[in-house]
């Protein structure tokens, strides 16, 4: 019996807390089963530095908050056949988007000046410029699968990946919801 070919998966985090990736790891021993069927070709969890040209499934955590997020989202859309928006930050902006009600300059001042005692200054080097408005992933690129939840449970992520591996498009509403 021949084993079915593995699918390639790339993941990254944009403006999120990385909790969605932690939930991914919460699959525990099922991860062993998963590596038989999936090749993680790019992710904060592995050492690869560049996104391959052709990836079957791209998974994005977090919302679009900076120039860097924007670039990564475009790159993922370009190179991934199926793009998954993982978690409330990716799906609806969630906590990062709560800054949308303030002027960007005020937000930056709050973080780097108002609350700092010694040498308050705004970093300009080595950090990407923030965008004025935080958007969900599908606010800037097309998304194929939405998995709400903060974070979506390991079971929900397992279900989504299993369906994608089987060549089906999952319907995550059965297993997760906003705020889950």
């Amino acid at each position: 019996m021949s084993t079915p070919p593995k699918i390639t998966v790339a993941t990254t985090w944009l403006d999120g807390c990385s909790g969605c990736h932690m939930s991914f790891l919460d699959m525990d021993e099922r991860l062993i089963e998963l590596v038989q069927q999936v090749d993680i070709v790019y992710s904060p969890l592995v050492d690869t530095k560049t996104l391959p040209d052709h990836v079957d499934v791209g998974i994005l955590e977090g919302s679009i908050s900076s120039e860097d997020d924007l670039e990564k989202a475009h790159a993922f859309r370009k190179h991934c056949k199926i793009l998954v928006s993982l978690g409330d930050c990716a799906v609806n902006g969630n906590v990062p988007a709560m800054r949308n009600h303030f002027k960007l300059a005020d937000v930056v001042d709050r973080a780097y000046r108002d609350t700092v005692t010694f040498q308050p200054q705004t970093p300009t080097q080595g950090v990407p410029a923030l965008l004025a408005v935080v958007k969900p992933i599908h606010g800037v690129v097309g998304v194929d699968v939405f998995v709400p939840g903060c974070p979506p449970s390991a079971d929900a992520i397992w279900y989504v990946l299993s369906e994608l591996i089987a060549g089906r498009i999952p319907e995550p509403s059965a297993v997760t919801r906003f705020g889950a």
């Binding site: 799906v91 609806n92 988007a97 949308n100 939405f146 319907e171 906003f178």
Partner: protein, 243 residues
């Protein structure tokens, strides 16, 4: 608007809902007949025991021979009606309605006191709303924490007016009202004064219990703790209206 009193001698009509032949009293609404017969109809502004408002439009149904969709809560049954409650078209419309509710205000469920006990959140899941296709309005709304027991967060309000109706029709205080138009609409206490300064509020908490979302909550409850109890409503409503 008080509930219309049920007539003692009303005729019985027969109608068909989703292929089932049913009979109902002539003075009943479609949603009442559906609830009696375990036919699920989604709704947010409708609540048994309160007057009919017809604002959320989630209870839309299709009537054969009519191009226009009807709100099941505010349409009385008539003889021979042929009703569909769950067509693809209705599902599509309901999905869009829920998405628009999410886009209008700032529902950040993960940091909402009602997370896990919210009718809007459950509705989204039931209708398959896994994302919102229209851009978020991103308008800023205030929070009123001036009441010593309760809190009002306009970001979570869907303008169902359940609070307005329960306070007026069941408690009899009429502390709540609605101000403004369109997306600027807002629920207010008294003449738009802080809730904590209200002369009319009796602090009975009925509005908090009937609020479907995290817009009205008890102070001091943390995320996911705000469980609402609406069992009192039909009982009190029956006593009120039978007087």
């Amino acid at each position: 608007m008080p509930l219309p009193a049920k007539q003692p001698n009303v005729r019985v009509v027969t109608l068909n809902i989703d292929g089932r032949d049913l009979s109902a009293r002539e003075d009943e609404t479609i949603i009442e007949v559906c609830r009696e017969n375990q036919i699920p109809i989604p709704s947010l502004c409708y609540l048994e025991g309160l007057s009919v408002w017809g604002a959320c439009r989630l209870c839309l149904v299709e009537l054969s021979g009519q191009g226009r969709l009807l709100a099941a809560c505010s349409t009385r049954v008539t003889e021979g009606m042929q009703i569909q409650t769950n067509t693809e078209k209705l599902q599509r419309y309901r999905r869009t309605i829920v998405e628009l509710l999410f886009a209008e205000r700032n529902h950040v469920c993960s940091v909402c006191v009602s997370n896990g006990h919210c009718e809007l959140q459950h509705m989204a899941q039931k209708c398959g709303v896994d994302h919102v296709r229209v851009p978020y309005r991103q308008a800023s709304y205030p929070v009123d924490s001036s009441h010593e027991m309760f809190r009002l967060d306009h970001d979570r309000c869907i303008l169902c007016t359940r609070c307005v109706r329960v306070c007026d029709e069941i408690e009899g205080a009429h502390t709540w009202d609605v101000m403004g138009r369109g997306s600027d609409c807002r629920v207010i206490t008294d003449m738009a004064q802080p809730w904590g300064e209200s002369d009319t509020c009796t602090s009975c908490g009925k509005c908090v219990q009937v609020c479907p979302t995290g817009a009205l909550v008890k102070q001091g409850t943390s995320v996911g703790e705000m469980v609402k109890d609406q069992h009192f409503l039909p009982i009190l409503a029956r006593r009120r209206h039978s007087q």
